[in-house]
Subunit: 181 residues, 2 copies
Amino acid sequence: MTGRLGRPRISVYIAHSVDGYIADRDGSLDWLFTRAALEGEDYGYEEFMASVDGLAMGRATWDFIADEPSLPFGDRRVYVFTHRAARPRDGVEFWSRTPQEAVAQWQAAGLNRVYVDGGRLISDFLAAGLVDDLVLTVVPVLLGSGSRLFHEIPVLTSLALESSQAYSNGVVQLRYRRTWH
Amino acid sequence: MTGRLGRPRISVYIAHSVDGYIADRDGSLDWLFTRAALEGEDYGYEEFMASVDGLAMGRATWDFIADEPSLPFGDRRVYVFTHRAARPRDGVEFWSRTPQEAVAQWQAAGLNRVYVDGGRLISDFLAAGLVDDLVLTVVPVLLGSGSRLFHEIPVLTSLALESSQAYSNGVVQLRYRRTWH
């Protein structure tokens, strides 16, 4: 079942600074773990992951975790979008496909919901009009520079706010779904 | 009285899209009025303005309003930061000063709180470490491209969340103050 979309739902779940960066100028995520850590709080990550049966990421995100002895994705399928050769790994497919081609493949494979991660790949899926919902976790800092979450694309995406939640450490989580006007 | 800072408080109050744009690719603010309009709701603007005795803006923001027969700023002083010649106007000073020089001037003039507006000028003040608080009104749309609120600067600014408020139309207002760690 792929639901009323007739294709897998494409979802974003990502943390960014107030000025829209997902990694600092050194490519590091340390700022995130320092500033967003909150005892006993996972910001809905486990619940979100439980709803997902596929993960897609760009090459930069993959390279960040490629050397981990075990990947924290359970038996979910993992798709790395890259044009460059990569060392094969069990359970991971390396794709050089457009978002449209990828979604068609996921639909054929019977996936319900795919988590698209990484700034560049998210923007590619947004540019293709294929992102259905976003969970954005806004960390109370202006990094000033680094890797941006949202790259420039020629497509406008209308959103509806599903919820906003503030945490005691100043993190705010905004949940949006795509609308069609 | 300039309060415990020993200088005027420097404040930002601005609306942006979820992907961080303040104007669309045509330089227009129409998207904002269409998507954020909410009957009887001014998102705290009047209250904010009542606390302000000076307004600073960049040249792009000024050019947007320069031809208005009357400016909606009451008797507040207006400072336009520009390196280019501009047609003089009563109550408006055209400055080619650094943020540090400007703040010293405002302090000498006895101002309490200055509203700094416009993406480029806000980033200049952030880069100088001179922004004390921000009210960010997040409009539920990804514009994809346009004028960014936050330009790349080499300075990190730690923030504390003062409040977050969601409105029925999906707008979320986040209020932050600067912290020093």
